[in-house]
Symmetry: C2
Subunit: 629 residues, 2 copies
């Protein structure tokens, strides 16, 4: 057996391998993960590498000719799963073949909640039946559990528990742990398993699914997992998915299966991370906007998109996980969806309120949960009103020329200096590959401050600097030059990109503005502005105000609270009282249909300029710009 | 096309048919049903007929040579599905090829019950949602239904209803019928369907399944159906089925599937009979002894047969029919099993009490529900005690040499005259083929009266009559001579048959006797003796007393009540109050374990002689015999 050396660039990792193995296998041995969705079967074409010395490797195969472009072949691209190594060789792994690690704020803020989960475990040592005590198995168990709880004739039971009960009681010598969901016996385990009692908090976002695995004894989050919502195949936004699902029940089923399979995957991942047996996960509390909620439950969402935008249901729903094919938890486990507020304000908004405590706040609070769909809530413990706006995926980097998600290589912060130089920071500290949402906000705000764009978002062509240049796409502002980037291409922001941002921020500002007016509140009436959503945490609040994304509220009153939706779900998971509050909120929080508001159109038009057509609404920005100029 | 005439004997039915068709087809055209389990595919060999004129029909086929014996072929037997007719012919249909119609008492006695079923239908006309009234679909429906019922926030719902709800509401223009099971919404139908509301009462006996299709508006039974319990494949009695199920979960599943498939078949049959759409059958109330109950629900019955004979559950269970694969009713319909009393006294006994009203009786009542397993209940509204005895299938004609079920051709009544002639009646008035249970009781009682057997059941060989003769099986008494019977063979009762009957009657009498002693009751304390069970109706009560099957209670106090189990199920089906009573009875009725009673053995030994070792317990019999002698 002959051995040879492979060097993987750009990291310079070396590995000694047997001659004849594939580059993909060699990379694995070197601890480098190359993208390979098909598992090395020569189907996905994602495991591209560049090898300059063709003598060292196998000849190009038919599969490679099919999956690589002519130009790639000329440049030395090969598929690592198809290419065998015969001599020492240097393999370049291009950026696009690397597996990314996603940076996301999923922990958010946590409020104090008394731990009182609806799931309980009660260990009982039963008396063995005798001829003078022939009480049936189920009654024997239920009565012992009720005695422990100081209740009588209250407990119900899941029929499937009964079928296995005689065997479990006898094989465990009558010492068992009863698992209760509320007053319902959902499972029985041999012996004392009271220490293993877990739950999942799940946020189904339009863009991503986030899960927290929670220890129901301590309330601690043991592991966090997430993935892109696989429904994204059928459109980035809520409306395109509703449209797809509306056309047939088969389509609805496909969308449901995608999200269910996704959740199953994340469940496996977080349980593995924490070393928890999925059989010991007894409940998942799920939140999401109304469309995500309906699709998850397999309810036709068609009527959410048709006036008068009626959801099928508002209240909280609990059902057996297996009815939804959620199978990576206890087979008799329960899925609970928190209640909704309206057709476009879902269980995620209820969770936002729970997590931030608006319903207990004396002062008036404004909450903006930014996502593909943005929920806005204004109010305090007396009264709350909410709305939803289709802010689109611009903040996720979508529809922006060099936009990308907030993953390694994304520019996340940008500052323009007095002499028009650009300073930026990338996620992971590597060479930049694109712009994530916060950088887009930053660059637009900075350009506006320096007069590179005017209040309509138009490039000011009188500013004569090399970074402002004309291309076939029109004018662009160069953020990173070719030689600075990981891709070898310039990273720029275009006139169209600025327009996308303006539409997105106008939608959100309009929501805030109309709701505040409905409540007769001015900026100074707001004691706290919560900015929620995974994306929110990386926003520069000053810049957000400069572009007019949020109302002009003093920065010290602004709190970035991350994924409050999943935190609210977690609170409901560990506390019965929180669920009651959720049910109450679903009934009490008023919904305002923006599209039906007479001021909507004019407000939206006003909100498109930077920061706003009515500059007096942004006194701090006005002052800052004046001082800056 | 040439036509010819076929005459079917013994009925003499004539039919003109085309030449070349099979005898089976010709019989169908004549309206005669010939047994044919395989549907005429030449597999089952059941469609035997006798044709003497071989010229008129096709030659004997290979299939026929395989399925008929050499002797049958010599006697002119043919398979009617394989034999084509070419000339006028006479076809004899032997008894064994005729389809029998079973005579059974399934109606029983009916008590007055106020109609208040747990299933309700509420028709509502909903307001269509508008932009100013965006109440979700489910809440809109539930609130309208609650308003009609004068309740609020009480109704629950089945998740599966929700999934289809948006479409149903809109396609029906918001006029729908809600189906409630208690306070749970289980289905929604377009339009007003309140007139179609049905349920099933089901008795799963060890030997047979009986169903009543009930109109839940009127409480009327619309159709009755029954079939042999298909589990009989795995043993006639409860213990052999428990033994079979105990050995593996696969066996348990097979037994469950058999009874479920059987119930589905009977459901189809009764719905067809009554012209009722099975989708409009919303609940089935099921009773049966504890073993049948466990097997039906798929609960391992192993521990019912092991001391201390503990059932898995006692209380009433309601679950979705589809969870049990009961699919010939509404797909969201409910199956409810009535509660049990103990390991060998099941929901059928609870139903017996409900149907006969023992729990409301001032006087003391004795109830004997005779079956393969016999339940006995003694008491009144103050206190009831029950037991179970393994009386075996002798009363079903099993283990009796010429025994048969109570179907056409069975002798059901026998009288012996002073000159030792035998008078008998057969079911259907045809030539006899065997003895059903009531005839066995009659003949033993008559033989005892005439001194043909002594009090130990032994033939009195000093009685020299032709009917008492010796065979290779020992002594037998001839009931019907060869020339009188349909089979051409003698119908007799053997010494072994008498012994079987003695064991069966001793088991039942012992149960009655021990329970009466437990309650400190004598025969004259009993105001009514109910004899239940399909078989019961045909018993001659005097003869039952003569053989010592039942205590010596005046005949005018004896009531034959038929299938009280199914009647009790029907009462629970149409009345919520009756269900509450059932639950109470399950808790209040005391169970006495016969096998553990110190007197059991001596009582049983005493009960084997005719009528009893202690003849003074049967004063009326004693007197009668004296007067007769």
């Amino acid at each position: 057996m002959s051995y040879l050396t492979v060097i993987f660039e750009p990291d310079g990792k070396r590995v000694r391998v047997e001659a004849g193995i594939t580059i993909l296998q060699a990379a694995k041995e070197a601890g480098i993960i190359i993208r390979s969705e098909c598992g090395g079967r020569g189907v996905c074409g994602k495991c591209k590498v560049i090898v300059k010395n063709a003598d060292a490797i196998s000849e190009i195969s038919g599969i490679e000719r099919k999956l690589l472009s002519q130009r790639e072949i000329e440049e030395g691209y090969r598929l690592s799963c198809q290419t065998r190594i015969f001599k020492d060789v240097v393999v370049m792994i291009p950026l696009e073949s690397r597996v990314e690690t996603r940076k996301m704020e999923v922990h958010g803020v946590e409020r104090r909640v008394e731990i009182n989960p609806i799931i309980r475990k009660i260990y009982v040592e039963l008396k063995e039946p005798t001829l003078s005590d022939v009480k049936p198995d189920l009654e024997r168990l239920l009565e012992a559990v009720e005695e422990r709880l100081g209740i009588r004739g209250v407990l119900e039971f899941d029929f499937n528990v009964l079928r296995r009960l005689p065997e479990i009681l006898r094989s465990s010598k009558w010492n068992v742990t009863a698992i209760l969901w509320g007053n319902r016996l959902i499972d029985v385990e041999p012996g004392d398993t009271t220490n293993e009692i877990f739950g999942m908090a799940v946020d189904i976002g339009t863009s991503k699914i986030v899960c927290h695995l929670v220890d129901l004894k301590s309330g601690d989050t043991l592991a966090v997992g997430s993935m892109e919502n696989p429904q994204i195949l059928y459109g980035e936004d809520v409306i395109s998915r509703i449209t797809y699902a509306s056309s047939s029940n088969h389509n609805l089923d496909s969308l449901q299966k995608l999200v269910v399979d996704g959740i199953n995957k994340v469940f496996v991942e977080v349980c593995q991370k924490a070393g928890v047996n999925p059989d010991k996960v007894y409940e998942a509390v799920v939140v999401g906007n109304t469309a995500m909620h309906h699709l998850f439950l397999g309810i036709q969402p068609k009527y959410l998109a048709l006036s008068p935008y009626t959801p099928a249901v508002k209240r909280s729903i609990s059902l057996m996980a297996k009815n939804l094919n959620i199978n990576q938890m206890n087979s008799r486990g329960i899925i609970t969806t928190l209640p909704l507020i309206a057709g476009f304000v879902g269980a995620d908004a209820v969770a936002d309120i729970l997590a931030t405590g608006i319903h207990e706040s004396e002062g008036n609070v404004l909450l903006v949960d930014i996502g593909t769909n943005t929920e806005i809530i204004v109010g305090n413990r007396e009264d709350m009103i909410c709305c939803s706006c289709a802010s689109g995926p611009a903040f996720e980097g979508v529809h922006i020329k060099d936009g990308m998600k907030a993953v390694t290589g994304a520019i996340e912060r940008i500052r323009i200096t007095r002499n028009f130089e650009v300073e930026y920071e990338t996620i992971g500290g590597v060479k930049p590959r694109g712009l994530c949402g916060s950088a887009v906000i930053d660059v637009v705000a900075e350009m506006f401050k320096h007069g590179i764009i005017d209040c309509h978002g138009k490039f000011n062509l009188s500013v004569s600097i090399p970074r402002l240049k004309r291309t076939e796409r029109g004018f662009e502002f160069v953020i990173a030059w070719r030689n600075e980037t990981a891709t070898g291409r310039e990273i720029t922001i275009t006139q169209k990109d600025i327009r996308e941002l303006q539409l997105a921020k106008a939608a959100i500002y309009t929501g805030c503005s109309i709701l505040m007016r409905k409540k007769n509140l001015r900026e100074y009436d707001i004691s706290t502005l919560f900015i929620a959503g995974a994306f929110g945490s990386y926003i520069n609040p000053e810049n957000a105000k400069i572009i007019g994304l949020i109302p002009d509220i003093p920065t010290e009153k602004i709190k970035f609270v991350g994924n409050t939706a999943v935190m609210g779900a977690k609170m409901a998971l560990i506390s019965k009282e929180v669920r009651q509050t959720a049910e109450l909120l679903s009934k009490l929080v008023r919904y305002h249909e923006l599209a039906a508001d007479p001021d909507f159109h004019s407000e939206f038009i006003n909100a498109i300029p930077i920061p706003n057509r009515i500059i007096d609404r942004f006194p701090s920005v006005k002052k800052y710009i004046q001082s800056f100029a």
